[in-house]
Symmetry: C2
């Protein structure tokens, strides 16, 4: 264990260097959905390559895709030991709404124990927990497993290039299992491991009435208002109990068995915790008949992510808008399929959109839901590492988010994933004032050092 | 009739000067709702004062209000003859959506018979028909009635200052009747006079859930989405027949009597005409049980004018928005009252908004509906003037728009209004590529010359 001790000591002594890395990485506005940010997004990829080279990883390189490059590197000098594929992404969400940030989203700013920046928690800190733990073990001569890095740049837009990249690089990506660091724990003192992720089908829906905006007095009453129509279409997607009304939507949903309901009921994370992490809406709300843990992890949802029509400036404009738009996404659970859900959405619209408007629907991205083996060797190594560092066994939870690669690795290469990451529920990821809890970042690096050691045994 | 002939001859000889005026006036971006445009809006008021001085009107001046000044001028040298108050407004709607304009909205551009500019038709050309007709008669020494001008700068935001200004200047505004040029005709060869206007209650509604935007995967399913809630609230404002469901909304609506239904049924303006003027939606749509003319002129409506929530940029952002906003306006008919409708809207929201969100409602502007006397002396003078110029009697119609001053003059000073203006239904007012039909502009000036002559008899 001498080597392990040396690695752990260097992790401790290099905490401020790790934080400096996080500040530098988070300052790059690698917003994958905005094409105007393409140069920044590429710069983030190059930053990762340089960092991987600096710790002694080999074959560090960019693979081009239709949008943003994939970073790959490996270190394969532990014959007979497991090979672990380490997954992360270097892209981030847009920073909107900008006005609500207390400090600039791309000027990482420390306040107390937190570092505020878009992407700090999702997931630049998490990528760095991988890089710095592997780096510490390599420096101490004690990395006893084979590792490959796959750090992509399109996770926040649904990983569209991976469905081509993974089969095209099947042998390069061969491994015993994947570890995705795009994950989190319940609280700084409640370690947890995610064993289920929801899938995603993300749509953009346009409703068009007249060819141009009209005077709402002259034409109000004879022209069907596309904003009113859109509101009606969206409203009709749920019943009053919060059930989703797309035809056939629940056909493939796996019913929770009593054993798993018991596991989820044991989560030491109360509705009061959820309410606080959710930025305190007046009260929680969800599908009738299910607990919060079930609603988040094991039940599908349908949410408007954006909505726009007509005049939204100061004051009033009496306009009957020509068109309206909504971004609508469904989160999916086993065994729902995003392509099938797109068909269901289309069927719903065909049935309910009135003949007084035209509509178009685009599926912007899709991801399969995934539930992984709770008892795999990788999972056991992760559980033991968390237990060592946090002093208690992690809770097993099903998470509400989506990480497309988890389903893709299963589908294309039959590879299972361990989700081990250190974002917190109140990190504000995807919202304003995203932050990374710095002590948890350091603990994450330490946990990965133990994880790799456990995985070698 | 020598004087009248001289005035008409000068109108004809000065057509290009009138067009030059319209180009200059329309180039001023006097958007009353945008405070950043306040200097331009004031500049438009000053332009009108200068123009009124140039034709020989007296006491031309600005009266300050809480927002934009009122222009007043008079010429009272026809003792024993009627005094006519001439109404118009110098403010315009915002030019959004800017991308849909073929040429810059404030660089007036002639293409064929039309001049394209925001505000050209609504209502800078109409204001100029008043000024240039009075100017021609004054120059010919043949203005045989007393006239007062009241040209305001807040019509497009609901004329909020007039409810103070009119009672405060009651004696200054005394007249036999008012003429509002904020009106139009059905087609270039179908003269018409509006005898009914709808009222307005324009709202801004905000729905707030959590304090900040959230990750839609982590919180979708346990936090009620304010955009979904807003859609549901808007959808619930109509039933499937297009009836409005605000509690008590129809209590004060005057039922159309068979005689008036017959008048409206005689309108030589078909559904095909409406469809074309409405920029060709797939088909017309409206409240079950009523014709297009009735739906526009005699039935109340509820339209979304703007809607905004969450991420509306390129691509996808998996966000659960903290809040959502809609601008919603109702057009009202006799005897609905905007304040009472605001109470009904509030009651609807109190009843239907779920406890999982907070909401706020602001009434941005209100206007009373108005139906004027179809047989008044002013109306007869207008009918005869149109008949003379267009070669046929005008059709009498009820219009769907709102002109707040018409109700205010009735309420405060018991003054009736004649609506005589020359906008066309396909002028695109309030939308992109607004235009004024130039031959109709010239005909408008000519019609007013006849009108003032008729009014003196």
């Amino acid at each position: 264990m001498k080597h392990l001790d040396a690695a752990l000591a260097s992790v401790t002594s290099q905490q401020s260097a790790a934080l400096a890395d996080l500040i530098e990485f988070s300052a790059i506005p690698s917003i994958s959905t905005l094409s105007e940010r393409n140069p920044d997004t590429r710069r983030a990829a190059q930053w990762v390559v340089a960092k991987l080279n600096s710790i002694g990883m080999e074959h560090a390189q960019l693979f081009e895709t239709d949008r943003h490059p994939v970073v790959y590197a490996d270190w394969l000098h532990a014959p007979g030991k497991p090979t672990i594929l380490l997954y992360g992404h270097y892209d981030v969400q847009p920073a909107d709404p900008l006005a609500e940030w207390n400090t600039d989203p791309f000027t990482p700013t420390q306040r107390g124990d937190n570092l505020y920046a878009r992407g700090a928690s999702d997931m630049k800190a998490q990528v760095l927990t991988l890089i710095r733990s592997v780096g510490a073990l390599l420096a101490a001569g004690s990395l006893a497993v084979n590792v490959k890095f796959l750090i992509e740049g399109e996770e926040e837009i649904g990983s569209p290039s991976l469905s081509k990249f993974i089969p095209a690089h099947a042998s390069r990506l061969q491994c015993d299992y994947m570890v995705s660091a795009d994950s989190g724990i319940l609280k700084p003192d409640i370690p947890s491991i995610v064993y289920g992720l929801r899938g995603l089908a993300y749509f953009e829906l346009w409703v068009q009435g007249p060819q141009t905006d009209l005077h709402s007095g002259m034409f109000g009453g004879v022209v069907h208002n596309p904003a009113n129509v859109l509101a009606r279409l969206i409203a009709g997607m749920h019943d009053s109990d919060g059930h989703i009304l797309l035809p056939g939507f629940y056909d493939d949903v796996v019913t929770l068995d009593p054993a798993e309901r018991a596991v989820l009921a044991a989560t030491p994370y109360t509705d009061a915790d959820v309410l606080a992490a959710a930025a305190n809406p007046p009260q929680l709300y969800g599908e009738r008949g299910f607990s919060s843990a079930e609603r988040i992890g094991a039940r599908p949802t349908l949410d408007v992510n954006g909505m726009l029509s007509g005049f939204t400036g100061e004051g009033s404009k009496t306009v009957l808008p020509a068109k309206s738009m909504a971004k609508i996404s469904t989160r999916l659970v086993p065994n729902q399929d995003p392509a099938k859900v797109a068909t269901q959405m289309r069927a719903y619209l065909a049935q309910h959109a009135p003949p007084s408007v035209r509509w178009t629907l685009n599926l912007l991205s899709g991801a399969h839901p995934a539930v992984v083996d709770r008892n795999s060797p990788g999972m056991q190594a992760a559980v033991r590492a968390m237990h060592t560092v946090f002093g208690k066994a992690p809770v097993l939870v099903r998470e509400g988010g989506s990480v497309p690669i988890v389903g893709l690795m299963r589908t294309h290469l039959n590879i299972d994933t361990v989700m081990l990451g250190f974002a917190l529920h109140d990190d504000g990821i995807h919202g304003p004032n995203e932050k990374q809890h710095i002590p948890t970042f350091w603990r994450g690096i330490e946990t990965f050092v133990h994880f790799f050691s456990n995985a070698a045994q």
